[in-house]
C-alpha cells in the first residue's frame, strides 16, 4: 500500500470517530474562551497528563472487547508502584526494575485471566476480589507509608527525547502497538470474535480461554507500564495511588466507543476518550470552576459514555435483527396467536 493511501485511510478512520469531533470542538471552545489555553506548553501538559490513562485504557480495551471487565486496574497500578519502590529492588538498575514491574503486571493480569476463564465466575466478581488482594499486597509491601522514589526511576515519567516527553512516547507506542495488534493480527480478530459471540467462537474451535487470558495479561502489562510512568511523574509512591482509577479507565474506553457487551471497539477511540477526559479536566482548572463542579462533570461524562454505549447497542440490535440477538423461539411460538372469539 502506498504511503499516501495509508495516510488517507488513517484520516478516514479518524473521521469515523465521532469523538474526534468532540475533542476538536472542546479544544476550540477552550482555546477561544481562555487565551492562554492554546499554547504549546499547555498541549504538552495535556499530552503528558493523558499518557498514563491512555496506556492503561488501551489494555482495558482488550479486556472489554472480550465482554470482560477489569475492576482491579487501580489496585494493580498501586501494587506495581509498591513493587517498584520495594526494599528488594533498592539499588537495582532502572532497566531491571522496570522489567520486574512489567513482569509482575503480566502476572497480575494472568491471575485475573486464568481465574476468569478457569472458574467461569463473572469477571466483575473475580476482579472485584483481586482489587482487594492487589491493594492489600501493595499495602503489605509499602507498610502504607509514603515512599520517595529513587531518582534513577523517575526518568520514565520526567525525561524527554527529541523534545517529546517520555510518557507521551510510551503512550504513543502503546496506542500504535495496541492498534496494530488489534487490527492486524490473528489475536486481535480472535478478541473480537470471542467478545461478539463466545459460544460461536468456542464452536468454531478458537482458543477462547487462551485469548481471554491473554487479554487480561496484556491489560496487566500495560497497567504496570502506566504505573511506572505515573510514579515517575509523582516522584513518590503513596497508599492512595490508583484508588478509583478503574472508573476513569473504563470511562475512557467506553467513551471511545468500545461496547461494554464486547465484540466492538477501537484503540483510536480509547485514545480519544483519554484525551477528551484529560482536556476536560484541564479546561475545568482553566475555567476556575468550583471544586464541586469537577465531580459533576466527571459523573456526567461517565453517564454520557454509558448512555451512548447503550444507544449503540440498541442500534446494533436493530441492524443485526432479532434472529441473532434475541433468544431463538420454537417454531410453534412463532405462529400467529389464534384469534379469540
Amino acid at each position: 500500500m502506498k504511503p499516501a493511501t495509508r495516510v488517507r485511510d488513517a484520516l478516514l478512520a479518524g473521521a469515523r470517530q465521532p469523538l474526534l469531533l468532540v475533542l476538536l470542538v472542546l479544544l476550540l471552545a477552550l482555546s477561544v474562551s481562555y487565551g492562554d489555553f492554546a499554547s504549546t506548553a499547555n498541549f504538552r501538559n495535556i499530552a503528558v497528563q493523558a499518557s498514563p490513562l491512555t496506556i492503561a485504557a488501551v489494555g482495558a480495551t482488550y479486556v472489554i472487547i472480550t465482554a470482560g471487565i477489569d475492576l482491579s486496574v487501580g489496585s494493580m497500578l498501586f501494587l506495581a508502584a509498591a513493587i517498584e519502590s520495594s526494599h528488594a529492588l533498592a539499588g537495582v538498575p532502572a532497566g531491571l526494575v522496570f522489567l520486574t514491574v512489567t513482569a509482575a503486571g503480566v502476572g497480575m493480569g494472568l491471575v485475573n485471566g486464568i481465574a476468569v476463564t478457569a472458574t467461569r465466575v463473572p469477571a466483575l466478581v473475580v476482579t472485584l476480589a483481586t482489587l482487594q488482594v492487589f491493594r492489600g499486597a501493595g499495602g503489605h509491601i509499602t507498610g502504607q507509608q509514603n515512599i520517595t522514589l529513587a531518582a534513577n526511576l523517575r526518568g520514565i515519567g520526567t525525561a524527554a527525547a527529541l523534545g517529546v516527553p517520555a510518557p507521551v512516547w510510551l503512550a504513543a507506542g502503546a496506542a500504535v502497538g495496541g492498534g496494530l495488534l488489534f487490527s492486524r493480527t490473528v489475536f486481535g480478530r480472535y478478541l473480537q470474535a470471542v467478545g461478539s459471540h463466545r459460544d460461536a467462537a468456542v464452536h468454531a474451535g478458537l482458543p477462547v480461554r487462551r485469548v481471554t487470558a491473554g487479554a487480561y495479561a496484556l491489560a496487566g502489562l500495560l497497567t504496570a507500564l502506566a504505573s511506572l510512568t505515573q510514579t515517575g511523574r509523582l516522584g513518590a509512591v503513596q497508599p492512595s495511588i490508583g484508588q478509583g482509577y478503574e472508573l476513569t479507565v473504563v470511562t475512557a474506553v467506553v467513551l471511545g466507543g468500545t461496547s461494554l457487551f464486547g465484540g466492538r471497539g477501537s484503540i483510536t477511540g480509547t485514545v480519544l476518550g483519554a484525551l477528551v477526559l484529560t482536556t476536560a479536566q484541564t479546561g475545568l482548572v482553566f475555567s476556575g470552576a468550583s471544586p464541586y463542579v469537577f465531580d459533576i462533570v466527571r459523573g456526567a461524562v461517565l453517564l454520557v459514555a454509558v448512555l451512548a454505549a447503550a444507544m449503540r447497542w440498541r442500534d446494533l440490535a436493530r441492524a443485526v435483527g432479532p434472529t441473532v440477538l434475541r433468544p431463538a423461539r420454537s417454531r410453534s411460538s412463532r405462529r400467529k396467536p389464534a384469534k379469540k372469539w
Binding site: A41, N42, N45, Q49, T117, G139, L234, Q238
Partner: protein, 334 residues
C-alpha cells in the same frame, strides 16, 4: 468441570497465595496484640491505614502498653459496613473491655456506639468526630478549621513582604477534615487585599490529581507564588509539578513558591529541614493516643471523663521555630 483441571488449580493456588500475602502477619491488617500487663484489652478500629494512621496506632500502642492494656487492632479499609461488623466482633466475640475508634462515617457509626453502650463497653473516638457525641465515653479530634486558620496566618505573615497569588488545593469534598481545613483557610484570608486565591483545585486526596491540578493551575496562572497544600502526603505531587514547571526553589530564593501544608508527617518534616517547605501545621497525634487511653482508664474506674470532647488544634512548625518545635511533631521523630 472436567476440562482444564490444572488451570483451575493454578488459578485457585495463585489467588490463595496472593490473598495470604495480603493478609500476612503484619500489624497493619488483621489483628495485632501489643505488650500489656493484663489489665484488660482495648479493641481498636481504624477507618484506614496510612502514614498518619500508623503514627496514631503507634501512639495508642505506646500509651496502652504503659497503662497495662493489650491491644487488638482492626482496619475497615474505608468501608463503614465492614467497620460495623468488626466492632460487633470486637464487642461480642473477642469481648474487649473498651474501644478506640476512628469512624469511617461519623453518622453510620451510631449503631456501633449503641451496641457498645448496651454492653457497657467504653467507646472512645479519635481523629474524626461522630454525630452521637453524647453517647461516646470520650472524643478527641483534631480541629481542621483551626488548622486551616493557622495555615492562613502563615500566608498573611508572608504577604506582608510581598503580595501573594495563592493556589489552594482542596482534599476530598466528602471529608469533614478537608472541608474544615478549606473553610478555616478561606475565612481567615477574607479581607486581606494582598492575598488572592487565584485557583482552587480539588484533589479528592489523590496524589495524581494534585499533580495534574497543580500543573494546570501553574499553566493557567504563571504568577502563582504561593500554594496551600491541605495534607503533607500531597506535597511530593506539588513539588513534582513545581519541578516540571522549573519553579522549585529553596526558601529564600527569589523564585521560591511559598508553601504551607498540614499534618506534620515525615514528608513535611523532611521538607522543612531541606528548606523546600515554609510551614507545616502538625496534628497532635501523640495526644490522641495518650488521652484516649487515659479516658478508658477513667471510664473503667466508673468515673466520668471531663471534658468529654476535646478538639486539638495543630502546632505550627516553620523555618524559624524548627529547632525548638520539632520534638513535638510526630513526623520529625527518628
Amino acid at each position: 468441570m472436567r476440562r482444564y483441571p490444572v488451570a483451575r488449580c493454578v488459578a485457585v493456588a495463585a489467588m490463595a497465595t496472593l490473598a495470604l500475602a495480603a493478609c500476612g502477619p503484619t500489624s497493619e491488617s488483621g489483628s495485632g496484640v501489643g505488650s500489656g500487663k493484663g489489665h484488660g484489652t482495648i479493641g481498636v478500629s481504624f477507618d484506614l491505614l496510612n502514614a498518619v494512621r500508623t503514627s496514631e496506632k503507634s501512639a495508642i500502642e505506646r500509651a496502652a502498653a504503659s497503662a497495662g492494656y493489650k491491644v487488638v487492632f482492626d482496619v475497615a479499609d474505608q468501608d463503614a459496613q465492614k467497620q460495623a461488623s468488626q466492632i460487633q466482633d470486637l464487642i461480642q466475640t473477642r469481648r474487649v473491655d473498651a474501644l478506640i475508634v476512628i469512624a469511617q462515617d461519623g453518622k453510620q457509626i451510631a449503631s456501633s456506639i449503641s451496641l457498645a453502650k448496651a454492653r457497657h463497653v467504653p467507646f472512645v473516638t479519635i481523629d474524626r468526630a461522630v454525630a452521637d457525641e453524647q453517647d461516646v465515653s470520650f472524643q478527641i479530634t483534631g480541629d481542621p478549621h483551626a488548622d486551616g486558620e493557622l495555615a492562613a496566618d502563615e500566608f498573611i505573615a508572608a504577604a506582608r513582604t510581598k503580595p501573594l497569588k495563592v493556589l489552594e488545593l482542596v482534599g476530598a469534598l466528602t471529608d469533614q477534615n478537608a472541608i474544615g481545613r478549606r473553610d478555616g483557610f478561606g475565612n481567615t484570608l477574607k479581607g486581606h487585599a494582598d492575598l488572592t486565591v487565584v485557583s482552587q483545585v480539588p484533589t479528592d486526596w489523590d496524589p495524581s490529581q494534585a499533580l495534574d491540578g497543580t500543573s494546570n493551575a501553574l499553566q493557567k496562572n504563571p504568577g502563582i507564588n504561593a500554594i496551600f497544600v491541605p495534607s503533607d502526603f500531597l506535597l511530593p505531587s506539588v513539588q513534582s509539578a513545581l519541578s516540571t514547571a522549573k519553579r522549585l526553589a529553596p526558601v529564600g530564593d527569589t523564585k521560591h513558591v511559598f508553601l504551607v501544608t498540614i499534618d506534620g508527617d515525615q514528608n513535611g518534616c523532611k521538607a522543612i529541614r531541606g528548606k523546600t517547605l515554609d510551614a507545616d501545621i502538625a496534628t497532635r497525634v501523640d495526644q490522641f493516643g495518650t488521652e484516649a487511653v487515659q479516658a478508658i482508664t477513667t471510664t473503667l474506674a466508673a468515673e466520668v471523663v471531663v471534658p468529654k470532647t476535646v478538639r486539638s488544634a495543630g502546632v505550627t512548625l516553620d523555618q524559624a521555630n524548627f529547632a525548638t518545635v520539632k520534638a513535638r511533631v510526630w513526623g520529625c521523630g527518628d
